[in-house]
Amino acid sequence: MIVLVCLESPEPSRASRAALSIARRFAGTAQIVALSAGGPVASASLDMARRSGAHRVIHLDEPALDRADFFTLGMVLAEAARHIGATLVIAGERSDDEGQGLVPAAVAHHLGAPIVARVQDVESSLATPNAVVLTVRAGGRKNRIEMALPLVLSTPPAPIAANDAAIVSHASLPSVQTMTFARLGLDHSRVVPRPDLLGTRVPLSAPRIQYKSFDEVVEMLLRR
């Protein structure tokens, strides 16, 4: 089995870190491949992946991806997953800046695989070959479900552990391999930014209301 972890570049989001963290469950049973798309080759994301037990670390070196929208990025990552032969794709649910959370769904759409969001944990199924057991929190419940591969999972953001970037420190860290659109059979013309899907950006500070007393707050709460 090949597990592909999609990382943001150049800085890994908290959700990406969680994705890499749960992928480590397969360290002894599957090949873990970490992939970042766009951005520089030397990045904190790739460095973290190298030190976190990934067997292969791949950088998709295409400047055009820096202006790609989520749909295009999903298509490219899906092509990469196909090329690598991954049957389980794990991605962070959302970035730390925009936070829209559509890329994993776009990957699943283009890969033709089901998606499960908010995955807390994953392990190989002991009962069914070619399946995994997921721990998912939803609807006030903690569920363990078994699903067949191929599959795309997204992980919610997790707190940054002090040592999560330095799990492996041996001398034989994997080197970063680069991949191009040509290798994936993709054309640059397919990278079409669609910023309208994000909406207009309005730089604002948080609308903070400072109550002068707790009586004011209580009055407000009781009006609900």
Partner: protein
Amino acid sequence: MTNPSRFVVAEARRIADAAGATVYALLTLGSCSHVEIDQLAAQVSAAGADRILCSSDEILAGVPLDVTHGMLLAQIAERLRPLLFLFPAGGVGIELGPPLAVRIGAAYFPHASIDVRAEDRMPEAASQRIVLHRWRAARDGQRRVDVADLERPVVATLAAATVSRPLGEPCAEVEMLPCPEPKYARPRELTSEITAEDSEVELCSAMVLSAAPVSPAIRSALNADLAPGTVLVVDGEAEPVSLHAASPNEIFIVSSATEVDDVYLSSQVPGAKVTHVGEPGYVSSAAIEDLAAAMDRARAARSKVSS
């Protein structure tokens, strides 16, 4: 029916009244009797829905996943072609919203708030604009979209909030829909346990965050007069909770330290209005005590008025 579900239907009602639209509400249920379906539909109708669509199938009984619910949503999107899909706050929108948006080529707005505003757009006649906005995860600004300007559907999840009164009548007609066969292999549910803390986090409409411990007595005082599940208190001694799925309408930060601001503003609760309680210099534990005392005073005042 949870508070966030009532709120999402009420918001849809508010938009529909302004824009002259129809509110369809979708009920997805496991195997249920007609009586149970009618009872639920009456609640949804009373919350403000014009029409109720219901699909009842064993596959819909478990955790809502795209693999179980996605084809049903896509089928409805194909048939009704709605301009706006709204999901209530909580995990269901995070699970089902993005795949639906990708499938139908819609914009996706997580943890969104909705403004309905009259706008004069000369030379056109004045119209009601439906504007969705959400905080970027970095909290450095918002994204806004006018639904009419986008020329494509919008899928949004809303913040959690409570609704004070019913906006509709409990008499909507229910149209039963067959549940389409899933596109992929069905998941097999191994275990499913209710986790109260998850429900609290997902469904609370106000959150009090404090670095200092909060006693059980104060917690119960905070909740005594409010709708169940309205307020969630998270303090320094609370069990670690995943705030990722939380989207309270308001957050109260009880703190004396400005740096706590940054901690909680980056605590994965986008969409929320942040409210600071108390002047700089308050000690956290004292501030919470004051809040509880103020609740007591307010309760006493209210009981005096009602008697």
